[in-house]
């Protein structure tokens, strides 16, 4: 597991829009454009996307504006600094969840959301790696509750 210094705000964009618009955009052009830009899309809710876009915010924002705001004129697009976290080993994260939650991480890749060790977290499992995200105002609690050495 990384140390506490690895917890950092994850640069992202946030999109809230009509779920049908999001479905369509992600299934077609937007999904491909974001993949080309190296962005990861976390579907937090049917109407809510968190788009992780390290170093490519401008291109990603443009793609979102064209593909989503261009269709749903009431869509809310915003930069998002409200989540902080760190990449960890997926096996460690699975054990952490088993020891500190009322639920288990699903076996495959994907996004899980829930309470672990008293923290509302989002966990993106990608093969052997897992991104653990918590709201930035409680990010200081992430390292101690992940039981990383101080």
């Amino acid at each position: 597991m990384p140390g506490p210094e690895a917890v950092a705000v994850i640069p992202a964009l946030r999109v809230v829009a009509d779920p049908v618009v999001l479905d369509g955009a992600l299934a077609w052009a937007l999904g491909a454009r974001l993949a080309d830009l190296g962005a990861r899309v976390l579907r937090l809710a049917p109407d809510d996307l968190l788009v992780l876009s390290p170093g490519a915010g401008g291109g990603v924002l443009g793609a979102l504006q064209e593909e989503i705001a261009g269709v749903d004129h009431h869509a809310i697009l915003a930069t998002e600094a409200g989540f902080a976290g760190a990449w960890c080993f997926a096996g460690d994260v699975r054990r952490w969840v088993a020891a500190n939650a009322d639920w288990l991480l699903p076996a495959g890749d994907g996004l899980s959301q829930g309470q672990v060790a008293g923290l509302p977290v989002k966990i993106l499992v990608d093969g052997d790696d897992a991104l653990v995200l918590a709201p930035t105002p409680i990010a200081h609690e992430l390292a101690p509750r992940l039981e990383w050495p101080a």
Binding site: V9, R14, V16, A17, D18, D47, D48, H74, A75, I76, A78, T79, E80, A81, G82, A98, A99, N100, A101, D102, W103, L104, A117, G118, L119, P135, T136, P137, I138, H140, E141, R145
Partner: protein, 770 residues
């Protein structure tokens, strides 16, 4: 030879010993019948500081420190002098079937289910010869099941120090049967063991002396020589000079033979084979869940003969005489007899006494009612084990938390956030706001963006003030009401464009606000997008007569907004939503911005305002400032049933100016009912002793009325006002039924106070609008 310590005495251990075996081999005596199977309370002791631990279920460990519990009645165990501080880990395990009990029935069932391809976890405490396989807790761990909950879910103590929560599609209870304990005179003497226990103890090298068997004799074991006492058990007799810690040691057992005569058998130990009773406690917790019982645990109970004399419940010390007294008072049902006599309320959960209580009732013509209603826990767990897996809710930090601490702020928790209480002298902070310029971190406010074609429908339905007429770039104060008309929260509605709004809520109300918004959106206006910005945006309140000058120095790209106005602009290069409000009573600009820029903006403001004497202010000062303005803090000044009228906030409800809204029906329905109390402003009356300079009544102080000092209400907020030179208060006061006015002659702590209009300071609001 390794040792453990029992009551200060070193005791040798042998391989495979449990603590009970080691203790008995060393000649230590324990009162009551010992089962050696974890069914009874007779070997409970404190082991390594943990009270209520069964010696027979605890593997003997070199160096363990054991304190035996005194003979009945046992006082509560002393708490350890220092906290143990041991954090117990938890593990969640999901399986298809959890089999509880590693005896022959449990193992066979587990094997059968595994052969069917099901994921099986066999749980056994490993002390009684059962096995343990698979699952959590680590290889080789043994598992003691402490409780069965809805799910079904099992709470399990692992010998590896972990508490397991086992979620299973099905639980199979194969806990076997317990041996029935004797109830007769002398049954609290030492030297009594069940037949199965006798075999195990003798095999482990415990010298049982002269052994007499009552009922079914024990299985043979090396060194175990038994003389059978044929007949019905009558009583145990003590030997003289017994250990004073126990009630004595058995010296003889008396049985009644078939011809009616009594036979007395001198002995050192009596083994008791009085039959078996299903271990039904755990299975009983699974009523209505996917729980199946197999083996001896599923056999029907065979009741012992009705008890005549002696201790029935060793946990509570309930005797047959106690049961008779309860019966004579009219208690007939098993559950009522339990509650009245306390039989079955102790640490073994009725395992020992239940067969006898049922037999007692059956002998009096009461139809058998089965067992007591069992509830978790079936095993005593420590506080650390009970708390395993629990984590305290986190306290949030704003993006400026480090800045506050670096400035020496005393931080405190408010509404789930760490907030600066004060940085130094609160008077300096106060005067900076009233006479110069100051910064406040209000990033904790709830902040939501709403947009969509139905957004006006939603907001008109939510708020008791009109929203549709709010021009773009303007803000309006608004209450949030429950359907009961009670005030839930308050905040600001700010129109960003035709179909886009920024809503703010109080710090404490932000968490509730999202659910409130989403619930009503789903109900009345589905085409609205909602984005919570509370954790994503910081907010700095630039407040004071020089606030505009400070802001101008940082080059906002647009002119600052008028009072209750809004602009989107950059301040020192940081994009901000600038809201001009007036919670402090002075010119105030709230700068809402992305938290990634908070520190930069804060430092720029402090640097640009240095010659203006800019200072940050904490919550302590903010409470004084807002109280001078008479602003209510929801949750602090309000009660769960506080309506706008009771709070004196009728002006924030526009019944005539709009249609239906949440709470309207309740407000209209109750409009004709005279209120019995009201939140009012209070100040010293000036015709009696007042408060010394700087002092104010305690918040929560009682308000009294008249010469009889009748209770008239209480103070919710109280501060000394530096500007006014006297205390200012908000408080609830009772209203007279006759004229609907507060009662006269109000006092607080013997000092006269009077109702005063709010705001106490600058009632026309000239300062905030300047």
């Amino acid at each position: 030879m390794p040792h453990l310590v029992i009551d200060g005495r070193p005791v040798e251990l042998a391989d495979g010993d449990d603590v009970l075996t080691a203790a008995l081999r060393a000649g230590i005596t324990l009162p009551g019948t010992l089962c050696g199977a974890g069914d009874c309370p007779n070997c409970l002791a404190e082991i390594d500081g943990v009270a209520y631990t069964r010696l027979c279920r605890t593997p003997a460990r070199p160096g363990a420190v054991v304190r035996l519990q005194p003979a009945h009645p046992a006082p509560p165990p002393e708490l350890p002098s220092a906290p143990l501080g041991r954090r117990v880990a938890t593990e969640l395990v999901e399986v298809d079937v959890a089999v509880v009990g590693g005896g022959s029935a449990g193992r066979a069932e587990a094997a059968r289910l595994e052969a069917e391809g099901r994921r099986v976890l066999l749980l056994d405490d490993g002390v009684g010869g059962g096995g343990s396989s698979g699952g959590g807790g680590g290889a080789g761990a043994s598992h003691e099941v402490a409780g069965l909950y809805e799910g079904p879910e099992l709470l399990v103590r692992s010998t590896h120090g972990t508490m397991l929560r086992v979620e299973a599609r099905e639980v199979v209870v194969a806990t076997g049967a317990a041996e029935i304990h004797p109830v007769c005179p002398g049954n609290r003497l030492a030297g009594l063991v069940t037949a199965r226990a006798a075999t195990r103890l003798a095999a482990a090298g415990v010298d049982l002396g002269r052994v007499v068997a009552v009922g079914t004799p024990p299985e043979p074991a090396p060194g175990l020589s038994v003389m059978a006492a044929e007949g019905e058990l009558v009583r145990f007799e003590a030997t003289p000079g017994a250990d004073v810690r126990t009630a004595g040691r058995v010296g003889a057992v008396v049985v009644r033979r078939a011809d009616g005569t009594e036979a007395r058998h001198p002995c050192d130990t009596v083994t008791l084979g009085l039959g078996l009773t299903p271990r039904a406690v755990l299975a009983g917790m699974g009523q209505g869940f996917a729980v199946r019982v197999v083996g001896e645990a599923a056999e029907p109970a065979v009741l012992p003969p009705p008890p005549v004399e002696g201790v029935v419940c060793p946990c509570s010390g309930t005797t047959v005489a106690d049961l008779e007294a309860v019966w004579d008072r009219g208690f007939r049902e098993l559950e009522l007899v339990k509650r009245a006599s306390l039989a079955g309320t102790g640490t073994c959960q009725g395992s020992v006494c239940m067969p006898h209580v049922r037999s007692f009732l059956a002998a009096r013509g009461v139809a058998d009612q089965g067992s007591f209603t069992p509830r978790p826990l079936v095993r005593q767990i420590t506080m650390a084990e009970a708390a395993a897996g629990w984590a305290p809710p986190p306290v949030r930090r704003t993006a400026l938390d480090g800045e506050h601490r670096a400035l020496g702020a005393r931080m405190d928790r408010f509404g789930g956030w760490w907030r600066p209480w004060r940085y130094g002298d609160p008077l300096q902070e106060y005067w900076a706001v009233r006479e110069g310029v100051s910064l406040g971190d209000v990033g904790t406010l709830g902040k939501f963006l709403l947009a969509g074609p139905d957004v006006l429908d939603l907001l008109e339905h939510l708020y008791p003030v009109p929203v549709a007429d709010l021009p773009v770039g303007r803000c309006r104060y608004a209450l949030n009401l429950a359907e009961s008309g009670a005030v839930l929260d308050d905040g600001i509605v700010c129109r960003l464009d035709e179909h886009r709004f920024l809503l703010t809520f109080t710090t404490g109300g932000a968490g509730f606000a999202e659910a409130w918004l989403r619930d009503w959106t789903a109900a009345v206006a589905p085409r609205v997008h909602i984005l919570d910005r509370t954790q994503s945006w910081g907010a700095i309140n630039v407040t004071g007569p020089l606030a505009g000058e400070l802001l101008a120095r940082l080059g906002p790209s647009d002119p600052p907004p008028p009072f209750l106005g809004h602009v989107e602009t950059s301040v020192s290069g940081v994009p901000c939503h600038v809201l001009r409000l007036g919670f402090t009573g002075e010119v105030s600009y709230e700068l809402h911005h992305d938290i990634s820029r908070s520190v930069e903006l804060w430092r720029a403001l402090l640097a640009a305002g240095r010659d203006l004497g800019v200072k940050p202010h904490g919550i302590d000062t903010l409470f004084t400032l807002r109280l001078e303005k008479g602003h209510v803090i929801v949750g602090m000044d309000t009660e769960p049933d506080s309506t706008p009228r009771r709070l004196g906030l009728d002006r924030a409800v526009k019944l005539e100016a709009k249609g239906d809204f949440v709470g309207r029906a309740a407000l209209e329905r109750t409009a004709g009912i005279p209120p019995d109390r009201r939140l009012v402003g209070l100040v010293p009356a000036g015709d009696g002793p007042g408060w010394p300079p700087g002092a104010a009544p305690d918040e929560g102080a009682v308000i009294r009325s008249g010469p009889g000092l009748d209770h008239a209400g209480h103070v919710t907020s109280s501060r000394w006002s530096p500007m006014l030179g006297h205390p200012v208060l908000l408080g609830w006061v009772a209203l007279d039924e006759g004229d609907g006015q507060p009662r006269p002659d109000l006092t607080i702590d013997g000092r006269p106070v009077r109702v005063a209009p709010t705001p106490f300071l600058d009632p026309e609001g000239r300062r905030a609008r300047a």
